[in-house]
């Protein structure tokens, strides 16, 4: 853990821990909702990757933008979303962030700068770069972070928009969460050469960071966001991380692409929440009891939100053809 301890930092550390715990609690509940057939559709768990979303989003303001992915609950929570509206969206309820029209794979929370999850792998790369183009043209000073997985590096559109972002010095950070697997396939089998070298080929400063170390991620993000605001973007960051679940809930028998030993090893030795908690205790920033009570509080919040969402009404059927087109000009 590369970190400094100060009063101001203490609050930031606790907030990072809490946000990671909130993501984990959200995902555990979402997983149960799905398995118990209370949740329609399909969903992809972010568990294990919490340090990436939290480390980066804690370096952003709510005016800064992010684009997210099909594995997007973590980004959404990290960018400031509320449990209730998120669970309502997962269950297709009227109070969801998208009034039940988007679901797990399309949650958008524009009030917090989340331009939306995207169910097309690589589908948000253009959107994120366009958001950075607006920021540059209008001089807003906002930074956009484009989250995507290692699988999306195989999409051609990334190279098109990186080229333009580099040509026009756009304030964007391409954040590749390399969790080692492109759906059901090892990343090594789908990616030739080095990912950072690909971005470097466009003259983009590129970094690799331990995606399980929230402080390392946050330190790098703080630096790059500041540089973006000074007009030194774009940047590329490869975050080495791990997803605890299968590609989607229900991807249970995955021995053919990864071993249970490997999964157990990551969970035991490299869990971002456990390790950060140990560090906080070691630094005497927090006591073990305080952490437990924070965990319990977060879990109770999540369960209350689930209960609320289960009881919440579905949208009125009259909403089905609402919002196809925006009104007015």
């Amino acid at each position: 853990m590369a970190a400094r301890k100060s009063k101001a930092n203490t609050e930031a550390y606790l907030r990072m821990y809490r946000q990671m715990a909130r993501i984990r609690a959200f995902e555990d509940n979402a997983n149960q909702l799905y398995l118990s057939a209370k949740m329609p559709g399909l969903t992809h768990m972010y568990s294990g990757q919490e340090a990436v979303a939290v480390g980066i989003c804690e370096a952003l303001t709510s005016d800064d933008k992010i684009t997210s992915t099909h594995r997007g609950h973590g980004h959404c929570v990290a960018k400031g979303a509320e449990f209730r509206q998120m669970f309502c969206e997962l269950l297709g309820k009227a109070e969801g962030y998208c009034r039940g029209k988007g679901g797990s794979m399309h949650i958008a929370d524009q009030a917090n700068g989340n331009l939306g999850a995207n169910a097309i792998v690589g589908g948000s790369m253009g959107i994120a770069t366009g958001s950075a183009l607006t920021a540059k043209r209008q001089g807003t000073g906002h930074v956009t972070v484009c989250f995507f997985g290692d699988g999306a590096t195989a999409q051609g559109v990334w190279y098109e928009v990186m080229n333009m972002a580099a040509l026009w010095k756009l304030p964007i950070i391409y954040a590749c969460e390399n969790n080692g697997y492109s759906e059901y396939t090892k990343t090594a089998e789908i990616a030739a050469g080095s990912l950072t070298a690909r971005a470097e080929a466009f003259g983009i400063d590129s970094f690799t960071v331990d995606g399980q170390d929230v402080l390392a991620v946050n330190d790098l993000a703080q630096t790059l966001v500041a540089r973006c605001r000074k007009g030194e973007g774009p940047f590329f960051v490869e975050l080495e991380t791990y997803r605890y679940h299968g590609h989607h809930v229900g991807d249970i028998n995955r021995d053919y692409y990864r071993t249970k030993d490997e999964e157990a090893d990551w969970k035991k030795h490299r869990d971002p929440i456990v390790n950060f908690g140990k560090w906080l205790i070691g630094q005497k920033i927090v006591t073990p009891d305080e952490l437990v009570s924070m965990d319990n509080e977060v879990r109770a919040d999540a369960e209350a939100a689930v209960q609320y969402a289960l009881e919440a009404p579905y949208p009125d059927v009259r909403e089905v053809d609402m919002h196809v087109f925006a009104e007015g000009a």
């Binding site: 933008k65 684009t67 969801g96 962030y97 998208c98 009034r99 039940g100 029209k101 988007g102 399309h106 958008a108 524009q110 331009l115 939306g116 995207n118 097309i120 589908g123 948000s124 790369m125 253009g126 959107i127 994120a128 770069t129 366009g130 958001s131 950075a132 183009l133 607006t134 920021a135 043209r137 209008q138 956009t144 051609g156 559109v157 098109e160 928009v161 080229n163 333009m164 040509l167 609402m322 919002h323 196809v324 087109f325 925006a326 009104e327 007015g328 000009a329």
Partner: protein, 327 residues
């Protein structure tokens, strides 16, 4: 009234709107100094600079996707897609992203962008530079589709498109860029979803879109010489579609022919004909006729290419046969 080319009308529309609203920028391949291969945009970069008339690499999915993101964050981009055929390259950005964002976000996000492109065969450009693909995007909920048929419509519809808060795809007929038509000096906008009845008639309704509007008007002239009175309707936009005007005319004349330069199979002619059949069924004295482009890739040879697009003579002959009760 002064007459200007369709190309000039488009240029004026963009310039007027960009002067009005600094959030508007134009992005595409060779749009700045080159002013596009058709020289439609010449002069704009001199007035607005390269910050607002943005040349891109040849990366259609990339700049289309960027336009979507820019539109979601407070910009109002106009995307220039050099040929309508390249729309296949931007389908994910246009149909999966732009078209669905407002709906999927429960109305929270808006995508006010215009995709300007073109259609039309008989430029001897063969199968990848001659297609009329507007039916493809008209099929996708969330996209509006405008089909101007003259300089007057090109300007008025484009200005409306730029002010719309939704993604709008506007197809210009690339064979008409140099055609002149009366266009007022003063500002005007043309509403979407309002068809124009270009000629009144009582025996048969000819619904023509874009390039086929002129074909229908010429066919109506030929028919008049035979004592057949044809009503000619230009829908101007196919999404939204002015169903009332089209159906009302078909009810009046009891006969309708729909003419469009897109391929006939599963195309715009099919959709409009079906609506007429649905809503005017008990007023029809003959089956509704569809005349689209032949269902073949557009051939290069002039001897072949000219066979693929409906002509005024063909439309008139179909109308005569309808009125004689041969169909």
């Amino acid at each position: 009234m002064r007459e200007i080319t369709l190309s000039r009308a488009v240029n004026e529309a963009i310039a007027e709107e960009m002067r009005r609203d600094p959030a508007i920028f134009l992005i595409g391949e060779d749009v700045a100094e080159a002013g596009t291969p058709f020289k439609v945009l010449s002069g704009l970069v001199e007035e607005f600079g390269t910050e607002r008339i943005i040349d891109t690499p040849i990366s259609e999915p990339g700049f289309m996707g960027m336009a979507v993101g820019a539109a979601m964050t407070g910009s109002r981009p106009i995307v220039d897609l050099m040929f309508g055929d390249f729309i296949f390259l931007v389908m994910d950005q246009l149909c999966n992203q732009a078209a669905k964002t407002h709906y999927m976000s429960g109305g929270k996000l808006k995508v006010p962008l215009v995709l300007r492109t073109n259609l039309g065969a008989t430029r001897r450009s063969a199968a990848q530079h001659s297609q009329s693909l507007h039916a493809l995007v008209a099929h996708i909920p969330g996209l509006k589709v405008a089909l101007p048929s003259s300089a007057y419509e090109a300007k008025g519809l484009l200005k409306t498109a730029i002010r719309d808060d939704n993604p709008v795809v506007i197809f210009e007929d690339k064979l008409m860029y140099n055609d002149k038509a009366p266009v007022p000096e003063e500002e005007y906008l043309l509403p979407f979803g309002k068809a124009e009845i270009l000629r009144q008639g009582k025996d048969v309704t000819l619904v023509g879109t874009s390039s086929m509007v002129q074909v229908c008007r010429k066919a109506a002239d030929l028919l008049a010489a035979d004592g057949i009175s044809a009503e000619v309707i230009d829908p101007r936009t196919i999404v939204p579609l002015d169903e009332d005007t089209i159906v009302g005319s078909a009810k009046k004349t009891s006969r309708a022919i729909v003419v469009d330069e897109g391929h006939q199979n599963f195309g715009v002619t099919a959709e409009i004909a079906a609506r007429i059949a649905d809503k005017a069924f008990y007023y029809l004295d003959n089956p509704v006729q569809r005349m689209g482009a032949m269902d073949v890739p557009v051939p290069f040879s002039p001897a072949l290419e000219d066979l693929t697009v409906p002509t005024p003579e063909q439309v008139a002959e179909r109308a005569r046969r309808l009125c004689r009760g041969e169909i």
